[in-house]
């Protein structure tokens, strides 16, 4: 863990968000993942002589979307710069980025922590830039292969303030960012394809002091777990160095998960002078109020707004609200189930419990759930009206899982289907008081000894009678009703 007595951890994150534009930021080539190497590299991406970058306006709109969602200033004029360095997968010998005038200025992200508290994390800036290609070292002995399919993919680099105080907070921030960009539809969020990558700036300082310690930067973390583990490992290393009288050196690190440690990539001494200067091939990006307002009008309900609404209007707890809003698809499913059933809490329990368990086991995305939201809603309604017990409801759910429904099945069709299944499987809870009353009378009459015990004050014996009824009805009797009928019969009151 990062909390070691006497030390405070300070973390700032740089999150690289791959924008979900169809074509690249400065060329018309496709951004689709997984194509054969170099098949999605145009003359611009290859940096052939005479080619020029042309800005993809969709990337600009996505950056503005992000800025508006984080309460940030949108700079009316922003400028692209060249960041110069040589690397084989950087075709031009410079990366087009934004240095002194980024498109998105100061903003913030409200992060829900595990203890239910909300932490407001400052966002320093977010700027547009192009991704580099990939160097493939594994497949070629003694050589390196270059794949430029990724070169020119648009990135939004989001730089946070050093507002995070633990690896858990950092992971929560990264998760919240992940949820946000997916809600905004500006990133597919596929961490294992590198759609979001994160650099962590980490330092420690004695508890109670305000001056920042010397920081190091851990590069290229692409999972919530690795981010947390890498920070923990680095914090432990820094504390060890400081406690044994050493000094922290500014350096860039890589995290090695198999060894759970950070390894130095390069120190400040051999850091590159990037020789930033304004990109003369592109005009400044000018954004007017009309565009900003048009984009603002298309913003969806954001995760933190949903979270608050689930708590305030649907009466869900903080944990449930956070869980259900972490992904837009989950929230959409939950909302459909809650709305169609009229039972938000029950819907939340089912989505987070039975459904999520089954999806995990089957390794399915919620958008491909065999049980549609409308079917789950119909099932919940039948629990609520007493037709199903929690036990029979689970049986029905399992049955439904085996015969997938269309995701967009209409509520009425789903309700009909649920009722047919209940009938066909004989899952209907017995709530017919006449028949139950007859059974109760029979059981009471057949067990005089237990009746005596109950009347003598042994309340526990009630369970025995309930058990008998359930046995006879194969669990379909409405337990509440059975209880009431039994109590009436046992107390000897006249019917």
């Amino acid at each position: 863990m990062s909390e070691r007595s006497g030390w405070e951890t300070v973390i700032g994150l740089e999150v690289h968000v791959q924008l979900a534009t169809r074509s690249k930021i400065f060329s018309g080539a496709s951004t689709a993942f997984g194509a054969a190497p170099n098949t999605q590299a145009s003359p611009v991406d290859l940096a052939l002589p005479g080619t020029l970058p042309v800005l993809n306006e969709e990337a600009v709109r996505m950056a503005i979307r992000f800025g508006l969602a984080t309460g940030a200033e949108i700079n009316r004029e922003s400028v692209f710069d060249r960041k110069n360095y040589f690397y084989p997968d950087l075709p031009k010998g410079y990366q087009i980025s934004q240095f002194s005038q980024p498109i998105v200025g100061k903003g913030h992200l409200d992060v829900q922590l595990d203890d239910g508290q909300t932490l407001r994390v400052g966002i320093t800036r977010a700027h547009l830039e192009e991704d580099a290609g990939k160097s493939l070292h594994e497949d070629y002995s003694g050589m390196t292969g270059i794949d430029l399919n990724r070169a020119g993919t648009p990135l939004l680099e989001v730089v946070s303030e050093p507002d995070l105080r633990s690896s858990a907070q950092a992971a929560a921030y990264f998760r919240q960012m992940h949820a946000l960009v997916r809600y905004l539809g500006i990133c597919d969020g596929n961490l294992n394809e590198g759609s979001m990558r994160c650099d962590a700036n980490v330092s420690v300082r004695p508890q109670g002091t305000t001056e920042l310690g010397q920081r190091t930067e851990i590069k290229n973390l692409n999972s919530f777990r690795f981010l947390q583990q890498a920070i923990d490992a680095e914090v432990a290393r820094q504390i060890e160095v400081l406690e044994s009288g050493g000094r922290i050196v500014q350096e860039t690190l890589l995290y090695e998960p198999e060894l759970n440690r950070t390894r130095s990539m390069r120190s400040k001494e051999d850091s590159t002078d990037y020789r930033y200067f304004p990109e003369p091939d592109l005009l400044p990006v000018v954004v007017d109020d009309a565009l900003i307002e048009a984009i603002r009008a298309t913003l969806p309900e954001l995760p933190h707004e949903k979270r608050e609404r689930y708590q305030a209007e649907l009466g869900l707890g903080a944990y449930d609200a956070a869980w259900l809003t972490s992904e837009p698809e989950v929230a959409a499913y939950f909302e459909a189930a809650a709305e169609n059933s009229g039972e938000a809490k029950l819907a939340a329990n089912w989505v987070m419990g039975e459904l999520s368990g089954a999806l995990n086991k089957a390794e399915l995305d919620i958008t491909r759930s065999p049980v549609s939201a409308t079917r789950l809603a119909a099932l919940i309604r039948r629990i609520k009206d007493g037709t199903l017990s929690s036990k029979t409801a689970k049986q029905l759910f399992e049955a439904l899982w085996q015969e997938p429904a269309a995701q967009d099945e209409a509520a009425e069709a789903a309700a009909t289907c649920i009722d047919q299944r209940i009938e066909a499987l004989g899952l209907k809870q017995m709530s017919d008081s006449g028949e139950l009353a007859r059974m109760v009378d029979e059981v009471v009459a057949a067990n005089p000894a237990q009746v005596e015990q109950f009347r003598a004050g042994k309340d526990k014996v009630l369970g025995f009678f309930v058990g008998q009824i359930m046995k006879q009805t194969q669990g379909k009797a409405n337990p509440q009703q059975v209880n009431e009928l039994l109590r009436a019969a046992l107390s000897g009151k006249p019917d």
Binding site: P43, L46, A47, L48, P49, G50, T51, L52, P53, V54, L55, R82, N84, F86, P88, P91, K92, G93, Y94, I146, D273, R275, Y276, F277, P280, D281, L282, L283
Partner: protein, 489 residues
């Protein structure tokens, strides 16, 4: 047919079937083969392709679908990318480079029916004022083979002057169209920055590079400019221009009242002019125009002296990163058996770039480095704004400026090679307009010691039509543009 005819006259010959485009093209190809050994003005001659294009043009001329430029041969500077034909940029680095696309300029002129004769010699990456910095050897001045033709579009100027091509494209970053035009006694236009698309032009200094025509007459320049110019969605720095505006560029014969024009004589330029012969010629040019009613006044461009150092900081800074892509990884020259990545970079670039290119990369890298950026790059940007403001202010009181193009006539080969600063000072009168982004037209204005001399008309942004209009009037008053050198056959 006359190899020194204007393209307007050649077009007339094609229209009247006096000769076919194939005959015309073959005539120029024959001259190139016969005479270019003396000049080295072409790097690549595309004879076969030219004849095929000429035949296609002849078909268009026959079926009535021809335009005003259909069937006219043209030579492209070897930094315009040409699909399927090597684009070397005068460098060993690109000796093996064949682009899979045409530059917008090439594409537009081809669509206009022009026939490409080949690719002309130039200073490597357009860096130079003498055409001596070419991997393919220096080009010569057709008026005197011991003199340079100027640069960087020296091959284009030499080819047009010698009648090896009736017209050519060039590019101008700090004078690379105008100075060789002046040295070779032809006309050349550097358009307003943004007038002509840079797509497919191998970049030297992106904020300054501009393609333009080099030809025998102002009218010829206007015809070709009208076809080259216009917005291109592939170049974000190109400017929207209406069809009417582009049409107007092609019709300089019409409607300019010289008696209503006021032309400024920039004091600083004339003070810096030490060549007495040129001063006399400029005075004669002024009087010729005064004879047509043009008024002249002195104007001041106070920051002129800062232009050359400012330019060499900015152009080199941009060049240093524009040339980073030549790393031996994807295309172009790669050294033999690189030991490792750094060896690949270092040797590929060291072996393939010439001395002047290396000098500018080093200068530019230095100017952009931490600790020097403020003192050099930022300062130069500020100076550039002052120079631009000088022009804007001057154009509040005058319609255009008349100035020398170069400080002297063509200098001797090898004369300035070892003195780069003296070489850079050759651009003293052409650089300011480049920094300001304004158009400038270079015209032959006489001879000094059997070498042609040039004047320059500089106008406000997008004032090409008026510049060409006055240039046209000048060329009706004079015949310097009709003179041509005698080459030993």
């Amino acid at each position: 047919m006359d190899p020194f005819a204007s393209i307007a006259d050649l077009a007339e010959g094609l229209r009247t079937r006096t000769f076919s485009s194939r005959e015309l093209t073959q005539a120029y190809l024959d001259r190139i083969q016969r005479l270019d050994g003396q000049l080295n003005s072409f790097i690549t001659v595309t004879a076969e392709q030219a004849l095929a294009q000429a035949e296609a043009a002849d078909a268009q001329l026959a079926n009535g679908s021809a335009g005003p430029l259909t069937g006219i041969p043209i030579a492209h500077k070897d930094l315009f990318c040409t699909q399927g034909v090597r684009t070397s940029c005068g460098s060993r680095m690109l000796d093996n480079f064949v682009a899979p696309y045409d530059a917008t300029v090439v594409e537009r002129l081809q669509q206009a029916g022009m026939v490409m004769l080949g690719k002309t010699n130039m200073d490597e990456y357009a860096m130079g004022s003498s055409c001596e910095n070419s991997y393919y050897g220096a080009a010569s001045n057709p008026w005197n083979p011991d003199r340079v033709p100027g640069g960087s579009s020296g091959g284009a100027a030499a080819a047009v002057a010698a009648g090896l091509a009736p017209i050519a494209t060039g590019t101008d970053t700090g004078g690379s169209i105008r100075q060789p035009a002046a040295f070779c006694g032809i006309s050349g236009l550097k358009p307003t920055y943004g007038r002509v698309s840079r797509y497919g032009m191998v970049a030297f200094a992106s904020s300054l590079d501009q393609g333009g025509p080099m030809g025998r007459t102002v009218e010829d320049l206007s015809l070709v400019l009208g076809a080259m110019a216009g917005f291109d969605h592939r170049d974000s720095t190109s400017t929207e221009q209406s069809a009417a505006e582009l049409d107007a560029l092609r019709s300089v014969r019409i409607g300019l009242a010289p008696e209503r024009l006021k032309v400024g004589l920039p004091t600083e330029y004339f003070q810096a002019l030490t060549d007495a012969g040129l001063a006399t010629l400029l005075d004669e040019a002024r009087r010729a125009l005064e004879g047509r009613g043009v008024q002249f006044v002195e104007v001041s461009l106070p920051h002129t002296a800062a232009a050359v150092p400012c330019y060499y900081v900015l152009a080199s800074a941009e060049a240093s990163t524009n040339l980073s892509r030549y790393d031996g990884v994807r295309y172009g020259y790669r050294c033999e058996n690189p030991k490792d990545l750094n060896d690949l970079y270092q040797r590929s670039r060291s072996e393939a770039f010439g001395a002047e290119v290396k000098r500018r990369i080093l200068t530019g890298t230095y100017a952009l480095s931490v600790g020097y950026y403020e003192a050099y790059y930022r300062k130069a940007q500020q100076v550039r704004r002052l120079i631009r403001d000088d022009f804007v202010k001057a154009f509040e009181s005058v319609d255009m400026l008349l100035a020398p193009t170069c400080p002297n006539a063509a200098f001797g080969k090898g004369q300035l090679v070892s003195d780069p600063v003296a070489m850079y000072q050759q651009d003293i009168f052409t650089i300011p307009a480049s920094l300001a982004g304004v158009p400038a037209l270079a015209l032959p204005c006489g001879f000094s010691e059997q070498l042609p001399m040039g004047l320059q008309l500089i106008g406000p942004h997008f004032s090409e039509q008026r510049l060409l209009g006055l240039g046209q009037i000048y060329q009706t008053e004079t015949d310097w543009h009709r003179r041509h050198p005698q080459l030993g056959e």
